[in-house]
């Protein structure tokens, strides 16, 4: 996909306020199959490895590192400075449970491993993060399935631009390399090898990055609780105390005395507050398993 040319040339007349991307084919393939088949991560991963869609050591892909490195480079290009990989907040898909994908669907969302780069104003610190995210099912990125990749850029003049294509494989990679070689050849033929400077990943010009704790987002939380009276009230009051507003709650089919899922979906909240509330709730004795959190991307 012509991401770099689009950022550096086609959108040169725009302030780009955000880039949201599905940029790892292995993860998107696994999540697509989990969504369609309702089966667990480990099973789909094993099949993907058998078919050659995932590496024997899948950590770099499913751990989110591959997406994180790509997002770091893209952030550097977008905002013309240095964004080291170490400043990117990275979560992968290894803990993704079929239950959460099913609840997401019920709530009208699709789960994708998303890379997000966002800068509110030219003087703001930038968000650079990779994590599973829920997207409304009619979001243009929600329809990016299987091994396809996409980048959605938001420009101040042009609005949203989406680039979509196969991100990996020997032929798409060769196609990109050929394009670069032809670019170089045209520049040499024209006598302008440095027509566009290539000083984007410059350590001398670090960009301020916003910590994930300061993120403002909506959150999906799945608590695993022992279904005893007062659980819902206990959780809700912790969230109220942290000024986190709840958009919806799903609890049903519970059998008293058994472990059941309780879903909370928040309105916009600061991640640090959500984490603090969560720590309080998780200390309560009706909690049966670690809570699953998925950020919701508007």
């Amino acid at each position: 996909m012509p991401v770099i040319k689009t950022i550096r040339e086609a959108m040169i007349g725009n302030d780009i306020s955000s880039a949201r991307t599905i940029i790892n084919g292995t993860c998107n393939y696994i999540l697509t199959r989990m969504t369609h088949e309702g089966r667990p991560f480990a099973e789909i991963l094993a099949e993907a490895q058998a078919k050659g869609y995932a590496e024997a050591d899948p950590e770099l892909d499913v751990g989110g590192g591959d997406s994180g490195h790509k997002v770091a480079i893209m952030a550097s290009l977008l905002y013309d400075g240095y964004v080291p990989y170490s400043s990117v907040s990275v979560e992968g898909i290894k803990d993704m449970a079929p239950e959460d994908i099913a609840f997401a669907r019920e709530l009208g969302y699709v789960v994708k491993l998303l890379g997000v780069i966002r800068r509110e104003r030219p003087d703001s610190p930038i968000e650079v993060r990779v994590h599973p995210a829920m997207l409304r099912k009619d979001h243009i990125l929600a329809s990016v399935s299987d091994v396809f990749n996409a980048v959605l850029l938001r420009g101040s003049a042009v609005g949203d631009i989406l680039l979509y294509g196969k991100g990996a494989g020997e032929m798409p990679t060769a196609s990109a390399v050929v394009s670069d070689i032809v670019d170089v050849a045209r520049n040499i033929a024209g006598g302008t090898p440095r027509r566009l400077s290539m000083d984007y990943y410059d350590e001398a010009r670090p960009l301020p990055v916003k910590g994930i704790d300061q993120l403002v987002s909506r959150y999906y939380l799945r608590f695993s609780v022992l279904d005893v009276p007062g659980v819902l009230a206990a959780i809700a009051s912790v969230f109220a105390r942290h000024s986190i507003s709840i958009a919806s709650v799903v609890q049903r089919g519970a059998v008293e005395g058994e472990s059941v899922p309780v879903i909370f979906v928040t309105h916009n909240a600061v991640e640090a507050s959500v984490r603090a509330a969560l720590a309080e709730v998780e200390a309560m004795d009706f909690i049966r398993a670690p809570t699953r959190i998925i950020r919701i991307e508007e």
Copy 2:
């Protein structure tokens, strides 16, 4: 959308076998609203004009001419020669009926005004056409709604690449112009004003264009017939005589003696044969209104 850069630079290492595009925001807006609201073309057009989404004289947009001109330029760029507008087969959306959009949905399709450029082999004549087309609802172009535009390019190495964005409006247009000015400025600064030649629309090198009669496609046909015994058999036998194979037929809820729709969906067939069969059927005395034809794009 960076269409020209993508064709001339990013995909330079590919033979591009097809470009399929939704490239007129007014038509896409009207068709999207017809699809969602089930209301007739004229009503939606009048509202679009009142809101400024359609011109006071909408003919260039809804007649397909605007898309046709853009497709002619794109074909010239793709295959490096002259494709005059007069060689483009153009149909607009003025005759689009809500019934056909509803039947399309029932069959699993969405109707879009599509520009199609296709060349099977480097020595083949090219298809260059604009017309309403049915796309399977999970087709990536089916999700391009409202005033958004998209171009789906198929490269021999890279596979499918989609570019998606707002195609019109003063700011997106300004953004594209600024990008071109910066390109020119970079070339002047680099002393290479002719780094990329601009000889694509060269009348001295006309490209062979395939007539629409030779198109091979699937077809949706809606006959308006008087519901008397033997109608289905009469239509089917004409199609059989022209060696056109039928994929499905929809007829139901008919009241004998009244005018009813009968839908035929063909397998791949040559347009000239379909037109010949249609002429025979339309001469039959049970036909009550002109038949509607929509091509199906795989």
